[in-house]
């Protein structure tokens, strides 16, 4: 044995150290073959959430617009910036506002990070809503994706919840009064129990409010509760939910796509039952779960020539979406500072006190009746959306926007109808007043039940029934209903954002607002 063999060995090992570390980390060198590409997805805990191969349609931005990935990317951005903000933020009445001021003025990059957190939160709400619209209009909720649709609706609520709980944390006037309104919406079932005279025995509203605020008014208790919800509970739920959501995409056969582009096995779903293979006695070989799974399996390896490997195509597309969301958040944050008003002051009400923009449609309806506009109508709308895949079971052209020309016509007509109805329901009370102005002695229960919000909801429901009757298609009827709600939401939100001033009065522009 030569004298220096040991040194030569260690020298050689040192030279190949970077490669050895990389290989130990990635478990594989850079893939060159299709097989290796599949392997790299399979073998990585993070990438395995994707299937190894995807259909090219999934990569077309004009089909998905990358909205689902954008929502997830925004959640990632929000988690990262949120954790950074937690380094300085102090959830206490005396310190919260000051700590936000410090983040704004002296924390290195603090102002930028807070801006990103704020705008990314708004963007996430938009992305989630648009994602929902995309999934709906491409009929991607159809069997077997019903459950994922419902799950997505749950994630939508969590997104709003995260945004709402984050709203209080700066402890400024905006936060205080928006949350005061929100908490009282939670308490609004009292309107009903009061009318029934059972509040003393069954105070659902009071229970909800106590649970949310921990006190009878927004204060330290509420701040800490919202903080816990915002930084731990809701993100955790959202994370778990998103994981299941993405996992279900795979298990339900990948992204939905049109018939014309389907594999022979159907809409991306393997109908064939792989034969279970009995394990051999000797454990010389390990088995994937595949061999014991029965029923549907992802059609990853059927019509191989129609699909492309996820690595690198899908991953690159996803990276693009992440970069786009990042770019948009960065640009917004560069030019616009996140709002921060005076410190919360329970003795000085904001006028007008507005909730975050995506709740202004609700606030518009809440301005007719708290319980109906704030709880019943959103609850019915949510339930209606959740039930759509179970009620509309007819075979549809999955993966085609708006179901083709017929559906497009229904969308246009419904949008037109919904817009007219929503504008009318805003304009009539503004111009002529409502029941109480006409019949001052009217009973409270009628005021609660018959208001522009309920009439609008009923009109939308009737419209979708009308479409159902005319077309005989549950899918078209669902399109009509969804379009109505979407357009109604947009119009009411616009009115609440731009045309409501002090005392929730109607003003064409903020320059017409009376000075207080």
């Amino acid at each position: 044995m030569p004298k220096n063999a040991g040194f030569a060995l260690i020298w050689n090992n040192l030279l190949t150290l970077p490669r050895a570390v990389r290989e130990s980390f990635a478990r594989r060198s850079s893939p060159t073959s299709d097989r290796a590409r599949s392997q790299s997805i399979f073998a990585n805990i993070f990438l395995h959430i994707h299937s190894t191969r995807v259909h090219p349609q999934a990569l077309r931005l004009t089909y998905t617009w990358g909205l689902g990935v954008a929502s997830a990317a925004l959640f990632l951005i929000l988690t990262v910036t949120g954790v950074l903000l937690m380094v300085y933020y102090k959830p206490s009445l005396d310190l919260a506002y000051q700590s936000i001021k410090d983040i704004h003025y002296v924390v290195p990059t603090g102002r930028f990070i807070r801006n990103i957190h704020r705008w990314a939160a708004h963007l996430m709400v938009i992305a989630v809503i648009l994602h929902m619209a995309r999934v709906f209009y491409t009929a991607s909720y159809k069997k077997p994706r019903e459950f994922n649709w419902v799950l997505g609706l749950g994630l939508f609520v969590l997104t709003l919840g995260l945004s709402f709980t984050g709203y209080l944390l700066p402890w400024d006037q905006l936060a205080y009064w928006a949350i005061t309104i929100g908490a009282n919406i939670a308490a609004s079932p009292r309107e009903i129990t009061d009318v029934m005279g059972i509040t003393r025995f069954f105070d659902l509203g009071g229970f909800q409010k106590d649970l949310l605020l921990g006190a009878s008014a927004v204060g330290q208790e509420a701040l800490i509760r919202f903080y816990v919800l915002h930084v731990i509970l809701l993100p955790l739920l959202l994370f778990v939910g998103v994981s299941v959501h993405v996992w279900r995409i795979r298990k339900d056969g990948g992204l939905s796509r049109a018939d014309s582009s389907t594999t022979s096995a159907g809409k991306g779903v393997g109908a064939a039952q792989p034969l279970p293979q009995p394990p051999q006695a000797s454990p010389s070989k390990t088995y994937g779960l595949m061999c014991v799974v029965k029923g549907r399996t992802p059609a990853t390896n059927q019509n191989m020539d129609e699909t492309v490997p996820s690595w690198p195509y899908l991953l690159r597309a996803e990276l693009l979406v992440l970069m786009v969301t990042m770019f948009v958040s960065l640009v917004l944050s560069y030019f616009f500072d996140a709002p921060l008003k005076e410190m919360a002051n329970p003795m000085v009400p904001e006028n007008p006190a507005k909730a975050p923009w995506y709740f202004l449609g609700l606030q518009e309806m809440v301005s007719y009746s708290a319980v109906i506009g704030g709880i019943v109508i959103p609850g019915i709308a949510w339930l209606g959306l959740a039930l759509i895949p179970y009620l509309d079971r007819e075979k549809s052209r999955v993966g085609i926007w708006f179901e083709g020309a017929t559906g497009r016509a229904v969308v246009w007509r419904s949008a037109f109808f919904a817009a007219i109805a929503a504008v009318a329901m805003v304009a009539i009370p503004v111009k002529f007043g409502w029941l109480r102005n006409w019949y001052p002695q009217i009973s409270q229960i009628i005021i609660i039940l018959i208001n522009p919000g309920t009439i609008l909801t009923a009109a939308y429901a009737l419209w979708s029934l009308y479409v159902l009757r005319r077309s005989g298609s549950t899918r078209l009827s669902a399109i009509a209903l969804f379009t109505c709600f979407l357009v109604g939401f947009v119009i009411l939100t616009t009115v609440g954002t731009y045309f409501r001033g002090p005392n929730w009065g109607f003003y064409w522009s903020p320059s017409d607002w009376p000075v207080h």
Partner: protein, 503 residues
């Protein structure tokens, strides 16, 4: 449906990925550049380096220049809850060489900093403004979301009042505050406004007026910037212009006096500052609160009564309030009313009139102080040319006929005293305090002989109705019947001394 070949899709994705990533990189770089080089305070600190260099002519100057580094500076005073970054730009506040340079580098004027070291007090405790900010516009915080914007320099003395009494700083840099405090006294603000529990109740208590924020003031009619100091200034100049229907009298101040009074009112904050910051004089004053220093009857009268009753020797009709203001030091009232009656009226006020209660718990005056006020009321020199008429000895009030009296009342009294004596221009007669404390003799003499120098005529005079004794007795009986509740004082009065000061 045709899907383009994967290479085409992928190519497009690559291009966009490149563009967007470069864009994101550019945004990050721009943000970093702005933060590192764009900040206002760095700009000022670099300028200050040049100034220091120009002035580094001696050993000390050179060492100061050497010690100067560009970094964020702040003063933290936890006891006062102060974190002030003003010194990041105001770099020369303690450098006497900086007298001639322009702001923000100028030395702090006056002797203030010598007695108030900036490390112990910070800046915003006196100047207000947003200490956390590092941008001047946001530190000044006018038209910015901040409750306490920078005080205009001419009102800054209001902050002296946080730790000092106004007289203490008179002539020591707090002249305007001291003069404001005097105006508060002279203009009779106490008549309607309480401080530390003493004062009238027509207006708001002003103990924390200086801490009010913009949203608590009706700003609609304020012409200048919508800030609390500006509100106060314009309000003192014309109360009704700022608050439509305000009952406040125009104090009639010059511009200088307006500023002084504003300064004083802004100093009213009742803040819980650490004891070590409070001057001995203010400490003594705070300790005295429960045991106010002796004020003479005249001083008390001036402070609490003069705003409505003026000198008190004549009655007058106040157009603003649409009421007769009784001549409480007028000859006839002082002659006819006894101390019990006066004390009760001062102590508990006169419901139905504007006269509030002044006793402990209401206006905050002690019994001794009320006694001194009464002595002062009675000390007014009686006019020698007007006879003070005694009671006819033989009247018996127990047989008055209220029905007859009612007719007389409707004919002669209702115009001023209101139907049923509920009060109109003239005081209410139906109220409980009046009914339980005014004795019948007092009522008789007031009706019969009127009030000298006041609106109440003498109804025995032929020109004013020429009432007979019997008619007046009926009228007294009627007035007595107006008190729905409470025990009339007649019975008590007959045993006492009805005329008070003339035995």
């Amino acid at each position: 449906m045709t899907i383009p070949p994967i290479n085409q899709i992928d190519h497009r994705i690559k291009i966009w990925l490149l563009i967007v990533s470069l864009g994101a990189l550019a945004a990050l770089a721009a943000a970093a550049l702005r933060e590192e080089f764009g900040s206002e305070w760095r700009h000022y600190q670099r300028q200050y380096t040049d100034i220091l260099a120009a002035k580094a002519t001696d050993e000390q100057g050179r060492s100061l220049l050497k010690a100067h580094e560009i970094k964020l500076r702040q003063i933290v005073v936890p006891e006062l809850g102060v974190t002030d970054r003003c010194v990041s730009c105001h770099l020369g506040i303690d450098d006497p060489r900086m007298a001639a340079v322009s702001n923000p580098f100028k030395v702090h004027p006056g002797e203030y900093l010598r007695v108030h070291p900036v490390e112990r007090f910070g800046c915003t405790i006196c100047h207000r403004g947003q200490g956390a900010a590092v941008v001047f516009a946001e530190a000044k915080a006018e038209d910015y979301h901040w409750d306490y914007p920078l005080l205009p320099i001419e009102l800054t003395q209001s902050s002296c009042g946080l730790c000092h009494t106004p007289p203490e700083v008179d002539g020591a840099g707090g002249d305007r505050l001291a003069s404001g405090a005097r105006l508060f006294e002279i203009k009779g603000c106490y008549s309607c406004h309480k401080l530390a529990g003493r004062g009238g109740s027509m207006g708001l208590a002003l103990d924390r007026e200086g801490l009010k924020v913009k949203g608590q003031m009706p700003m609609a009619n304020v012409a200048g910037p919508h800030t609390v100091p500006e509100w106060l200034m314009e309000h003192f100049a014309d109360p009704q212009k700022i608050v439509a229907g305000s009952q406040m009298r125009n104090p009639g101040l010059s511009y200088d006096e307006t500023r002084a009074l504003t300064t004083y009112v802004l100093s009213l904050q009742e803040r819980d500052l650490p004891r070590s910051y409070i001057s001995p004089a203010l400490n003594a004053l705070l300790a005295e609160r429960n045991n106010p220093s002796e004020l003479s009857g005249e001083q008390l009268y001036n402070r609490f009564c003069s705003n409505c009753h003026d000198r008190g020797t004549y009655g007058r009709f106040d157009k603003a309030y649409n009421k007769f203001m009784p001549a409480i030091r007028g000859a006839s009232l002082v002659a006819y009313a006894d101390s019990i009656f006066l004390a009760a009226n001062i102590r508990s006020g006169r419901p139905g009139t504007m006269m509030p209660g002044w006793g402990i718990g209401a206006g905050g005056l002690s019994e001794a102080e009320i006694g001194r006020i009464i002595s002062y009321l009675k000390s007014a020199p009686l006019p020698t040319d007007v006879p003070i008429r005694e009671m006819p000895a033989s009247l018996d009030f127990s047989h008055g006929n209220p029905l007859q009296g009612g007719h007389t009342f409707a004919r002669l009294c209702v115009g001023c005293h209101g139907p049923g004596g509920i009060g109109n221009y003239a005081p209410a007669l139906s109220n409980k305090i009046f009914q339980t404390t005014a004795d019948s003799a007092f009522i008789y003499r007031t009706i019969a002989y009127g009030r000298i120098d006041a609106a109440m005529p003498a109804f025995r005079n032929p020109g004013r109705g020429g009432l007979s004794d019997a008619q007046i007795v009926d009228l007294v009986a009627y007035v007595r019947s107006l008190g729905a509740r409470g025990t009339p004082r007649t019975a008590v009065a007959s045993t006492g001394n009805p005329t008070g000061h003339k035995p």
